[in-house]
Assembly symmetry: C2
Homo-oligomer: 133 residues x 2
């Protein structure tokens, strides 16, 4: 099962994350060695199996977080769509929201849209400070 548009795939991605549901997450991703995922502060994970193993680790022993996401930028081609997204993640029990920036890339496969890549990072420095690079 694929998704009728990238926004639907994105909604399912964040729903799977919020529900800590690995099988739902598996349904979001393309099944391919070309898939890649970079978690905040993480290295490059490549291939669907490795990416899903990482989500299994993230979800293990976690409480379902509250997650909202906001699309900040979108660029589309015929078979590739790039979304820049702000994620607000709250792990519950009095925690503060953590803001994460993600570049999400969707690909059109035979029957619809799937996630091809997810690159997430934590904005740590103030906007007006010079960044490391």
């Amino acid at each position: 099962m694929s998704f009728r548009d990238p926004a639907s795939a994105e909604a399912a991605f964040y729903a799977a994350f919020g529900a800590l549901d690995v099988e739902m997450m598996r349904g979001v991703w393309m099944d391919s060695p070309e898939v890649s995922c970079i978690h905040p502060g993480g290295g490059l994970l490549q291939g669907t199996a490795e990416v899903l193993r990482s989500w299994t680790e993230v979800f293990r022993d976690s409480q379902p977080p509250r997650i909202t996401h906001r699309l900040l930028q979108s660029s589309s081609d015929q078979k590739l769509v790039v979304h820049t997204v702000e994620e607000m993640v709250n792990s519950g029990s009095g925690q503060r929201d953590v803001t994460i920036l993600a570049t999400n890339i969707y690909v059109h496969v035979d029957d619809g849209w799937r996630m091809l890549a997810h690159h997430a990072s934590l904005p740590l420095v103030e906007r007006r400070q010079p960044p490391l690079h």
Copy 2:
């Protein structure tokens, strides 16, 4: 002036970075409000003017770094190309190499290829540790 392919635009991007050359960097990017840049630990910068201001800040008072880059993954469509790149940056004077992961996105404009987006982050955790998300 644009570039004949995304690899040439990418080579010019890292050459501009290595030379701390803002005008060369300007020539790499598409001139558009759709342009975006996330430096390691940084927030979202949008639009060519804001992105180039940030590079001006990065380059100010810096010593030209030694930078090598390695393409880890590439996905292509007609007008969008996504590169996952490992950057090795050495700021000189006995510093160690810093490894940065970047998602670089190139767009085909009228006469060639330009950079549309750059999302960079520092891999801080060991590969086998469960990531934050």
